[in-house]
């Protein structure tokens, strides 16, 4: 054995390569009598020591930068920019294909775990950022084409006579922007004075239909609330402030931003990952559209704690639980409403997915009785209303689904354009005259003045009150109102592509 062979073997042995007993013995024998090879072995060890004890490299945190680049690349693909067979398209196809099945599996696991008596089993929580959940939800929203699912609602503490209520809720969605929400009240009420909270709500944006009992304050005895015995049905061809049930499918409204969202972790649920997320009741309000549709519901404190369990693949909310806040303000609120003291660890509302059905819902489910507004194209609409509505030149992946002339009534815009992609939507209302008190206006006191890329200005408002993100633009001869489920930057990009120049001052 010569020195080259011995040192080659020594080097390999240092790196964990097995030489075999015979080769080991030959190498050891050579090294024992060879000062050059002993020096090589010593030097190699010194190099290793120097390499391994070197000061920690100053490694910059590039994660947000990289993820931001990935998102921009994805957004470019979404906007139709030329690209190869990129990940976004496969991501959308994946969601469309997998979401119903994935959600069904999770729902099955939820049901199973409830039956055996324990919520989560398996691995420890894994760290995940609220921003990551927001990104996941954002990616899922436009990819969803249809949904049919059922939930069980268990409400505690409506009144001493009705301490617990059980209701079934059925939710259906069909792109573009058609929703149906039905609530079937299964509660055994103590007397006929109580009106079950049976509700049917249909939305075929922008038209809506609502049938159900009007509300009744829970502090009053049921027979003191005659209106609750009346079921009213109303159709509206353009209800822009209607509560979208979209968050029961994918919580796109609640997770429009990471503000106020606290992620508890990702946990194993059977063979699925489930993200556990916490927010205040006010912050998670879009998760409870049924509370705003009439009927009688117990009151909730704005700071009550909402725990959400979301399937980490499809972002379907599989469980939504409300716990009383433990704050002093909550105690004062209980006193003010004559409520009993409610312990913070006992749920007061539990909404649990019970089944997800495959396949698209029947389109007839979304037909609105009496709706008479006909969808038009923009040119036909312009002929009817006498002016051409302002349209954005860029809408990303959103397609124009509806161009309507709402009936002439207080608060109605003169024209309304509805764009959609999956669960994502954008509504553009326009008034060629000066703005007055509109359903969306005047602009709220918390509106923020923003400068658009086009040079003009607009007034931006955060989601709330059943509406998504809003942007109002006043020009010399018209007023525009944009309302959307899209993130703020995408809304501003679309607004910047509109051929108008927003002026500073709102006109009276």
């Amino acid at each position: 054995m010569n020195c080259d062979h011995a040192q080659l073997s020594l080097s390999a042995r240092m790196d964990g390569e097995h030489l075999g007993e015979r080769r080991d013995a030959e190498v050891d024998a050579h090294v024992e009598g060879c000062s050059a090879c002993r020096e090589f072995a010593r030097g190699s060890l010194r190099v290793r020591t120097a390499v391994r004890i070197r000061p920690a490299d100053d490694v910059p945190d590039l994660v947000e930068h990289i993820v931001g680049s990935l998102e921009r690349a994805s957004a470019l693909e979404r906007s139709g920019a030329p690209s190869g067979p990129g990940p976004r398209s496969s991501q959308r196809a994946y969601w469309r294909r997998v979401m119903p099945a994935a959600a069904a599996v999770v729902v099955g696991a939820v049901i199973g775990s409830v039956v055996v008596g324990g919520p989560f089993r398996g691995a420890d929580p894994t760290a995940i950022s609220a921003q990551a959940v927001v990104r996941g939800v954002r990616a899922a929203a436009p990819a969803l084409e249809s949904f049919r699912g059922s939930f069980e609602i268990v409400e505690q503490g409506l009144s001493p006579d009705v301490p617990e209520r059980r209701l079934e809720m059925h939710v259906a969605f069909l792109a573009p922007q058609r929703f149906r929400l039905e609530i079937d009240d299964r509660t055994d009420y103590p007397s006929g004075a109580w009106t079950p909270t049976d509700i049917t709500y249909i939305e075929d944006m922008p038209a809506t239909f609502l049938s159900g009992p009007t509300g009744c304050p829970t502090s009053l005895p049921p027979d003191a609330c005659p209106p609750t015995r009346v079921t009213r049905s109303t159709s509206s061809p353009y209800s822009l402030a209607a509560p979208l049930p979209a968050d029961l499918v994918v919580p796109v409204g609640t997770f429009g931003s990471a503000r106020g969202i606290h992620v508890l972790g990702i946990e194993r649920f059977g063979d699925r990952d489930v993200a556990r997320v916490e927010a205040s009741f006010d912050r998670a309000a879009p998760m409870f559209p049924f509370l705003r549709l009439g009927g009688t519901w117990r009151p909730f404190f704005g700071g009550d704690r909402v725990e959400l369990q979301l399937d980490a693949d499809s972002w379907l909310p599989v469980r939504i639980t409300v716990f009383p806040a433990s704050s002093e303000a909550r105690r004062e609120w209980e006193l003010r409403f004559g409520m009993p003291v409610e312990p913070p660890d006992t749920p007061i509302l539990d909404v649990r997915a019970t089944s997800i059905r495959p396949g698209e819902p029947d389109p007839s489910l979304f037909e609105i009785p009496g709706a008479s507004t006909h969808a038009l194209d923009v040119a036909s609409l312009a002929d009817r209303i006498g002016y051409r509505p302002v349209v954005p030149t860029f809408t990303g992946t959103l397609d124009l689904e509806n161009a309507v002339e709402p009936p002439d009534s207080a608060g109605a815009p003169s024209s309304l354009l509805v764009y959609a992609d999956g669960l994502d939507y954008l509504r553009i209302g326009e008034w060629p005259a000066s703005p007055g008190a509109r359903p969306f206006g005047p602009v709220g006191s918390d509106a923020v003045r923003v400068t658009l890329d086009s040079g003009g200005v607009g007034f931006y408002e955060s989601p709330g009150g059943g509406l998504g993100r809003r942007l109002t633009i006043f020009t010399e001869d018209t007023s525009l109102f944009l309302e959307t489920s899209l993130p703020r930057d995408e809304l501003l990009t679309i607004a910047s592509s509109m051929p108008v120049h927003g002026i500073e001052a709102m006109r009276p």
Binding site: S11, V47, A50, P55, L62, I66, S69, L70, A73, S90
Partner: protein, 178 residues
């Protein structure tokens, strides 16, 4: 090098951006270090790291499970580094001198080691880094470098001999200077 969680990897392969972000978090430090060692330029290393993950995201749907994700990612990083250096016409190791930082008692040794690393060939240095610094096996390093495992073995030996020689020469100079 620890390999990626198979579930995360599977979700990332199916286009799940969230799962891919988890991979970015796990590997970005190693990818950046490797990129820095190849380019010796902090800004360039950051660019290479970003390019590597963008390329990985673009092609991960075609990533097969018959090799380690870390090896695959390092091979992409290496290609990005080479492309970047070629595009910018930077000579290798342009800014190596400034990397020795801090005030440890081993600063001199580190400086000598860095100088020695700069003195050996690119192929020997990248092989040495993959095996000695990043802990890849010969098989994994061979996968990254697209060479036979036997080539990794011989390159490691030659890299060590060159580094030992360089350090010994430096010590001899130091002794003469005293």
């Amino acid at each position: 090098m620890r390999d990626a969680d198979p579930r995360t990897l599977d979700r990332a392969r199916r286009g799940d951006l969230l799962a891919f972000e988890a991979l970015v978090r796990e590997y970005q430090a190693d990818v950046y270090r490797f990129a820095w060692h190849l380019t010796r330029d902090r800004d360039l290393a950051a660019d290479v790291t970003q390019d590597a993950f963008l390329r990985a995201f673009r092609f991960i749907h075609g990533f097969r499970g018959d090799r380690k994700f870390g090896s695959w990612l390092f091979s992409i990083t290496r290609n990005c580094a080479m492309d970047s250096l070629r595009a910018r016409r930077f000579p290798l190791l342009r800014e190596g001198e400034r990397e020795v930082e801090g005030s440890t008692t081993d600063a001199t040794t580190q400086a000598v080691l860095d100088a020695a690393l700069r003195s050996i060939s690119t192929e020997h240095r990248e092989t040495f880094l993959l095996v000695e610094v990043f802990g890849l096996s010969y098989l994994e390093a061979a996968d990254v470098l697209a060479v036979a495992p036997g080539t990794v073995k011989s390159r490691m030996f030659r890299a060590r001999r060159a580094l030992c020689t360089a350090i010994a020469e430096d010590e001899t100079r130091e002794d003469w200077a005293r």
